[in-house]
Symmetry: C2
Subunit: 203 residues, 2 copies
């Protein structure tokens, strides 16, 4: 669609198109929706954006999103204080929390080691993780990092760094996703599932 | 993904999820992107939203988006002042402008007649269109309304209303989209293309 030469509209379209996964057509559609919505909606949306930036920051300990110095998980005394789940991003914390299968703490790296993208270990929160393992009473570090090439590199690097410490290192199991069919899965996933096959308990 | 109990984050996710085509997961991803972006980006985005609402409104004449009383198209003296292209929405103006095949004026109805959705003719800018045809020196009204059932109803309704006036009524051609294959098209489209077949000029 052609821009209509309305600078206020073009400016919002430009801004929206910078959001991830929002192409120019979607940005135009969103901007026109905002244009046609009532003023209350637009001002609520603008305020929510400003408010998020002003009232949140990263947790001092685990780099999850926080309103206070520590995030809601770090400051929750009912969580297991001896386990750290290491993830790439805050979205991964949200995804894991939804499963209700993990009750320990987190550590958000802020990415994975990627020489191609110019991300070196010192740009991630790895030193802070090592310090936590040294200083806090941690007995397990679960490396819940996405199994990409860069993820594997990151898992190996962190494992090496944590070797000197008396801490159990674990990683997420790889295998067949629940509900999927073998015929549609890639060879690497099937291969990993065979290698990691588990013995059935005999009734 | 689970909400992390951060009210500023939840509020922005709620707002973003109200945008068309933005589901909850996308809203979370966008909110986290805004969270991690620099403050400048977030404030630019918020200001662009406010600015759009404050500095634009609908054109007094054609209901396209405008910064002044009249939109950029209505106030452009080089446009053909004797043709009106009737469309449902401002996005349609943008789509048609991009083709560079139309140089007349527009009239944005603001929707189509839809008894099921409770949209009656008096909720659309049809009276204003009739007034323009009466008062302005219009010789053609192109009904560029999407060919849905409601669109057809609207085309028929407007045609009836404009019958008393000495104005040529046209509609967009229906047929085979450029670049498509017959085998993948619906019967209605192929049928229309056969009915509307055009004679080839002999060299």
């Amino acid at each position: 669609m052609k821009d209509l030469g309305i600078s206020a509209l073009d400016k919002l379209i430009d801004q929206l198109a910078q959001l991830p996964g929002i192409g120019r057509k979607t940005a135009q559609r969103l901007a026109l929706f905002i244009l046609k919505s009532d003023t209350q909606f637009a001002s609520d949306l603008a305020n929510a954006i400003i408010n998020l930036k002003q009232n949140t920051h990263l947790c001092k300990r685990c780099f999850n999103i926080a309103e206070d110095d520590l995030c809601a998980i770090c400051s929750d005394p009912t969580r297991d204080q001896h386990k750290i789940c290491v993830v790439e991003d805050i979205v991964d914390v949200m995804a894991i929390e939804e499963t209700h299968t993990y009750s320990g703490l987190y550590h958000v790296l802020g990415g994975v080691i990627s020489p191609l993208a110019g991300v070196s270990p010192d740009q991630l929160h790895i030193q802070e993780l090592i310090r936590r393992v040294q200083e806090e009473d941690i007995d397990e570090v679960l490396l819940a990092i996405n199994p990409s090439t860069e993820g594997e590199t990151t898992i190996i690097y962190i494992s090496e760094q944590l070797k000197p410490f008396n801490v159990k290192l674990t990683r997420l199991a790889s295998g067949i996703p629940i509900g999927s069919h073998l015929e549609y899965l890639d060879m690497a996933t099937i291969g990993r599932a065979i290698q990691s096959r588990q013995e059935l308990k005999k009734g």
